[in-house]
Amino acid sequence: MTFLKKLLEFSGIHPERVRTRWVSSAEAVEFVHEVSEFVEDINKLGPNPLRAKAKEAA
């Protein structure tokens, strides 16, 4: 994961676009919190440059 983030950063893709968290199946609240936070952060980052490219091609 550390490696992937660094490699993405070098390729011009924001490293915060990938995230791994370990949440137990008994921790529903924790799970919701992590996902919500991720969605929030991703929204702040805006559209992925890769997606823009895919649209261009279509």
């Binding site: 992937l4 070098f10 011009g12 890769l50």
Partner: protein
């Protein structure tokens, strides 16, 4: 500078310690790989310096793997530069070559070549002849690190878009020894299009270079589209070294990064 190399190989051959020496020879103006089995042939030995130092290189380690498979009970010697030796050490770890079946005949690279390669260690431990050159700085990676995120994205987008998917980078790679390759699996990387999925195709290959790429640069030499692959894989090596403290091919005993859990 080939005199000492010739002497060392001649001794190994006449004493019967090796079946053959995998090196290069010059014939009618061409430098090509050759398996020297008779000391008399050694006059035509070349170190791959044609017009300038190290300008004719071949993935000798790849041929070495073929030889080892065909003659598993024989011992061979092989000509190595610093990068090739790192490769052999990794190939020992990955069980592609047997440590007691390969003898290394090392040559050092002059500073000029080390600089062109931005090589971290331009000489092998098994150095028999040639200079013990100095480490060169990694300027190409640093120049990309300096760019803003979106500039980096554009840079690689343009570079990767030139890819004609000849797979030359993989085919020449002495560390790509897998029989089946992710790059040809439609379920893993989109196939049937040129340029191949950008940047997935190249990033997948980059990830597979973790703990393998020994920075010989043959991929970039082979690339017909001049994609700066070496710079990409140099970054892979840099991350592994900085984050996991692993230097690919520097030691036979060092654990592979796949075995390291804690981040240093």
């Amino acid at each position: 500078m080939s005199t000492k190399i010739k002497e060392a190989v001649r001794a190994l051959l006449t004493e019967g310690k090796i079946k053959g020496f995998l090196g290069l020879r010059e014939e009618s103006g061409n430098v090509m790989p050759h398996l020297f089995c008779d000391p008399k042939e050694l006059d035509s030995l070349s170190l791959g310096d044609w017009k300038k130092s190290g300008d004719t290189r071949y993935p000798l380690n790849q041929l070495m793997i073929q030889l080892a498979m065909a003659y598993p009970d024989e011992t061979f010697a092989v000509l190595v530069r610093g990068c090739d030796e790192r490769g052999v050490k990794e190939l020992f770890k990955w069980k592609q070559l047997a440590e007691d079946r390969v003898i290394l005949i090392g040559i050092g690279c002059p500073d000029e070549l080390a600089k062109a390669c931005e090589c971290e260690k331009p000489f092998p431990d098994s150095l028999i002849d040639g200079p013990k050159g100095t480490k060169a700085e990694n300027e190409k990676v640093a120049s990309i690190d300096k760019l803003e995120l979106d500039e980096r994205f554009k840079f690689w987008e343009i570079e990767f878009n030139r890819c004609v998917k000849c797979l030359g980078c993989r085919n020449i790679c002495p560390m790509c020894f897998c029989n089946e390759c992710t790059l040809e699996e439609a379920n893993l990387v989109d196939t049937g299009e040129v340029p191949p999925a950008n940047p997935t195709f190249h990033l997948v290959r980059a990830i597979h270079m973790v703990g393998r790429c020994i920075d010989c640069g043959l991929c970039e030499e082979a690339c017909p589209a001049d994609i700066p692959l070496r710079t990409l894989y140099k970054k892979v090596g840099e991350i592994i070294s900085k984050e996991f403290g692993y230097k690919t091919g520097f030691s036979i005993d060092e654990k592979s990064p796949f075995n390291i859990i804690e981040v240093k």
